[in-house]
Amino acid sequence: MFETTLSELEVQARQQIATAKTVEELEPVRVEVLGRKGALARISKELAKLPPEDRARVGKLLNAVKQSLEAAVEARKAEFQALALKARLDAEWFDLTLPAPEPERGNLHPITQIQNEIEDLFTSLGFTILDGPEVETEYHNFDALNIPPDHPARDMQDTFWLTDGNLLRTHTSAVQIRGLERFTPPLRMIAPGRVFRNEEVDASHEHTFYQLEGMMVDREISVAHLIYFMKTLLSAIFGREVTVRLRPGYFPFVEPGFELDIQCLICGGAGCPVCKQGGWVELLPCGLVHPNVLRMSRIDPELWNGFAFGLGLTRLVMMRYGIDDIRHLQSGDLRFLRQF
């Protein structure tokens, strides 16, 4: 008889657990069946009336039913929790395409970026970075570079003169001289910086622009070494092999002097507006350091020689990003500067 009652109780309780829709509905079912005064507890009290041989058997059965129903209640509770969590998480839906609050990250000036890149490259090749004044003496900017007064090469660089007789450096080559004065060879150095030319400003001319001067002085430096360094430099800058050509160029502080052209990266040498249809872009004046320059800085040209080059950072930036108006670079216009 007990067996039947337990079996019916179990079936009924299971059904009630399954149909309970909330934790609140489930709790009365649990109390009614499994509680201290619940159905199973009541049956348990009845067990004492049974003969001992039946008591153990029915007691076992009762425990089994109890455990099974407890498990069912726990399982149902877990289901409710899972559902509740699911609902909460769903309610926390958030539009991740909304913009992040400001400030956004700012931007480095494109010339700073390219200058950093090239400085790092040369540092890795053992070059020291040097700095020099923007206001220079006539001696450092011209005379010491083998450009005496009344030399026609002074026309190649229109100069801003100051009322005190000094000038605004027309090239970073002036820093070469400061380096030669400061260090003893062998030496490898670069000098990036702002330079000035007295020119009217238009889309392709600026009175203020950026250059990077480089120099290596050692025992036996040849034209072949210069070519090696320039090719290494340009391949690193452009991230690919570049085709270069070296042709005579006149700069009084080098002998021989060269203009190094690269094959136009836009058209591959076929001719386009960027290379003025020529297929080549003039990029790097360079040469072997003139013995007079070494001598003026008290370095014996019989023992030491070297190469020097000048890289137009402004030109490089314009080439890399296809900038068609040089004036943007010093405009301070954030519509332009935020693109880099």
Partner: protein, 678 residues
């Protein structure tokens, strides 16, 4: 400089390289060809031609290339054709000259040659000659003047023709100008001569500015019957100075300033004579050539060791090839016993261009073609490069600013007098440019603010709010030597709000760059907001300024700009790499809040400092929590709350100890005039 292709062909035997290809060859071996332009021609005397345009800058060191004959020599050396000399020296008459030449200073005028001619007919030149001048950009005038220009364009030797009948006396004087002398030149301008100017003079006075321009009074006219042809050589530097002093650059001065060859003067006369005999029939030479000057200096031979040449080029060149290259360019080569050549440059290369073996290296290098030299890494000592601390520091500053949302701008180093005054600087304190492009760019910036101010004005037209910064140099006058160049950072935040956020953002920038830096309110300059200006202090030194731009400077921006200006040089000098570890506290700390009642304009920073001092060594941290003003506080008062954490290094603080610390603060602050909300 423009060259006629046809003219070059006449001077090089067997020349058949097409113009474009010739241009490219010249670019690669001699001087930069900027373009080749075809010129059409239909008249039989004017066949089609091509203009080969060579960049003047690449001819700066080559006096010989300022004429077709010089360039033809290069062409011959490159393509292998023989050079044809257009000069026939045998045409020049022998005998005493009809005019005397007197040179005062042979350093300024190393040679002066002249030839007198009579029975001259001045008339237009033949069409082909006019055309040839036109092609290279010269205006035909009359046969006599055209011949002088033709010879200049051919031989690079400038000539000048005087009307002999208009010269006074029989001596041509080459002397410096006397004080007060004037010359009306061919361009009809009158020049007040400087005593340093070299002039050609007759008995009466100057008749030409030597090497630059002739005088109007003695020039060739339709009535001219007798002429004196001048073919002279002048010191390059002197001509250049005269030319720039009078702002007068002429075809002649451009050539002379490159140091022309004194050997060339009589060649010019011979060539001119030949042409004049053709274009002015009946012309007659009057006696011999006048030729004065110092002895021509013979070019010195230069020793060229072939192993040195190979080492410098990075390539070995066959000695026969080296010899051939030099000979084609007009150098003399004789072998030396020890694997070297003695190379003597020709006179037209020896005035300035060639004097060292390095110069010879260039001749060989360019003619074999630099592209034939293989790239080769050098062997050099491996050593780590020196660090550049300033540049590394500036990089960190830039990186910080970018992280905090600021975009970098570059501004010019120039400011106008108005800009300088607008920011309260005296115009005379600036380094001044003697030859500015425009009057608004005549001073070197003493401060980065004018540029940043302009950036704010312009960007406010496009953006509601923005952040920007610049790192640049202030240029300060110095009593001795070069001006001081002081690197500064100026950062700005522009917003259309009450302005507080911008100031706080910049304070954050300052704290990122200088941990522990403080801002202390300071009296404002005219362009600063009087109630929102502070010094930035670090390690006891004032290193910059934090302020809001005075509303009077806001202009049309309709917003507020907060600005931070820092002296990066000073900050760098205060930075210490010396960091030391502090042991972590082993005993727990306790926290409590305190709300100070203070006057509305009492500084929270000051309160915090006082409280920290009162706690002493037990202080772990003190943080601002919030501030409040309004009821129930009386008018003019505010409450500022702080959270303090305290701990002892050697035991856990008891509640009695905590209470004592708290009481110490309260009592101490009260004696300083503060109150508490307890």
């Amino acid at each position: 400089m423009k060259f006629s292709y046809n003219w070059l062909c006449e001077l090089v035997e067997g020349m058949n390289t097409p113009p474009k290809q010739l241009g490219l060859l010249l670019t690669m071996k001699t001087a930069e060809c900027e373009g080749v332009e075809e010129v059409s021609g239909t008249e039989p005397e004017c066949p089609p031609d091509s203009i080969i345009e060579i960049d003047n800058k690449s001819l700066t060191h080559r006096p010989d290339l300022w004429g077709h004959y010089g360039l033809a020599r290069e062409v011959g050396a490159i393509v292998g054709g023989k050079l044809r000399d257009p000069v026939h020296m045998e045409l020049l008459p022998q005998g005493p000259p009809p005019i005397a030449v007197s040179i005062n200073d042979m350093a300024l005028c190393p040679r002066y040659s002249a030839l007198a001619l009579e029975n001259v007919t001045v008339r237009p030149s033949p069409r082909w000659l006019q055309r040839r001048l036109e092609v290279i950009g010269l205006n035909p005038i009359n046969n006599v003047v055209d011949v002088t220009n033709y010879v200049m364009a051919e031989l690079a030797q400038p000539l000048h023709a005087f009307d002999w009948d208009l010269l006074r006396g029989s001596t041509i004087l080459i002397r410096t100008a006397q004080p007060g002398e004037h010359l009306v030149a061919l361009n009809e301008q009158e020049y007040a001569l400087d005593p340093r100017d070299l002039v050609i003079a007759d008995e009466r006075g100057p008749i030409a500015l030597a090497g630059v321009i002739g005088g109007l009074d003695t020039c060739i006219t339709d009535r001219t019957r007798r002429i004196v042809l001048e073919s002279a050589n002048f010191q390059a530097a002197s001509i250049r100075r005269t030319s720039s002093r009078h702002k007068l650059r002429t075809d002649a001065s451009m050539r002379f300033e490159k140091a022309q060859d004194p050997a060339n003067t009589v060649r010019g006369l011979a060539r001119a004579l030949e042409l004049l005999q053709e274009f002015s029939p009946g012309i007659r030479v009057v006696a011999g050539v006048a030729d004065q000057g110092r002895l021509l200096r013979l070019p010195e031979p230069i020793l060229l060791p072939l192993d040195w040449l190979a080492r410098k080029l990075g390539k070995t060149v066959d000695p026969e090839e080296v010899k051939r290259i030099f000979e084609r360019l007009g150098f003399l080569v004789s072998p030396d016993s020890s694997g070297a050549f003695m190379v003597t440059p020709p006179s037209w290369r020896a005035t300035k261009d060639i004097s060292l073996r390095d110069d010879l290296l260039e001749e060989v290098g360019r003619m074999i073609g630099y592209d034939s030299i293989p790239s080769q890494p050098p062997t050099a000592l491996v050593s780590p490069p020196l660090q550049h601390p300033e540049r590394l520091f500036h990089r960190q500053v830039r990186a910080t600013l970018v992280e905090l949302g600021f975009t970098e701008v570059y501004n010019y180093s120039f400011v106008s007098e108005e800009q300088a005054k607008a920011f309260g600087y005296k115009v005379e304190d600036h380094v001044r440019i003697a030859n500015p492009i425009a009057s608004d760019q005549c001073l070197m910036r003493l401060n980065l603010l004018p540029g940043i101010w302009k950036n704010i004005q312009q960007n406010s037209k496009h953006f509601e709010n923005f952040r920007l910064f610049e790192i640049g140099r202030e240029i300060h006058k110095s009593a001795t030597g070069l001006p001081q160049e002081i690197p500064h950072l100026v950062a700005a935040v522009f917003r259309r709000d009450d302005g507080q956020q911008g100031l706080m953002e910049l304070k954050r920038v300052s704290e990122h760059l200088m941990p522990g830096s403080e801002v202390m309110p300071a009296s404002a300059r005219p362009y600063e907001h009087p109630a929102r200006t502070a010094d930035v202090n670090w390690h006891g030194t004032t290193v910059g300024r934090l302020f809001e731009l005075h509303p009077s400077m806001a202009g049309e921006t309709n917003g507020r700009a907060a600005i931070l200006d820092l002296d990066l040089k000073q900050i760098e000098s205060l930075m210490s790499q010396d960091k030391r570890y502090t042991p972590l506290r082993r005993f727990p700390s306790s926290a409590f809040d305190l709300s100070v009642i203070a006057q509305a304009r009492d500084l929270a920073g000051t309160m915090q400092k006082h409280m920290a001092a009162l706690v002493g060594e037990c202080l772990e941290s003190i943080e601002f929590v919030r501030q409040y003003s309004g009821p129930p506080l009386p008018e003019g008062k505010k409450s500022v709350s702080f959270r303090l954490k305290v701990a002892s290094p050697d035991h856990t603080l008891s509640s009695e100890e905590l209470a004592a610390i708290r009481q110490r603060i309260i009592d101490g602050m009260r004696t300083l005039g503060y109150d508490f909300r307890l």
